[in-house]
Symmetry: C2
Subunit: 105 residues, 2 copies
């Protein structure tokens, strides 16, 4: 679960490279080195990004022999979407109410 606070999750998702990493991980678990081979960035850069993604619970490390692979935690994405949807709905209601009031004038 680790329901991370919402804002940092969005901050993590607000970077193109991070999405590329997530997309690459969609093909299956991969280590930082492996990711560095198929993406146009250094391993160290990838490591930092993975740390950010792990911090907000979007990704999870798995030790395999001497390497550390990472896998996407899809549920965290869904959870974030759900929470954002709730917020959106709340605003919809509020705005609808305001509009109603305005029209009643």
């Amino acid at each position: 679960m680790t329901t991370a606070t919402l804002v940092p999750v969005f901050a993590a998702l607000g970077d193109e490279t991070r999405w590329n990493i997530l997309a690459a991980l969609g093909e299956g678990e991969a280590s930082a080195s492996a990711l560095a081979r198929r993406l146009p960035v250094t391993r160290q850069a990838i490591t930092k990004h993975l740390a950010v993604l792990q911090e907000v619970g979007l990704v999870e490390p798995v030790r395999v022999g001497r390497e550390i692979r990472f896998r996407v935690i899809a549920s965290q994405l869904s959870e974030t979407a759900r929470r954002l949807d709730v917020i959106g709905a709340r605003w919809d209601r509020r705005l609808a109410a305001i509009k109603q009031i305005a029209e009643d004038l």
Copy 2:
């Protein structure tokens, strides 16, 4: 509609102050000056944030007399949530498939 590219929207949502502004706008339309009065930041800072929010279609300016009020576009929030949910679902399927393969070994 203005289906802004997803990543910049997340980047915009990845800032605490911006959420405070959105929350304040939830009470109803407000100008940059008005927001500056009830938030612990300068009007100019707020103006910049509003520009970012407007850029990604989360907020919309409305001219009222000599002031420019801003209102939240709730549909953009819902839309973003929907798109994120689709991505999450895709990952869920993919991960389920991978798990299936692993178990079949």
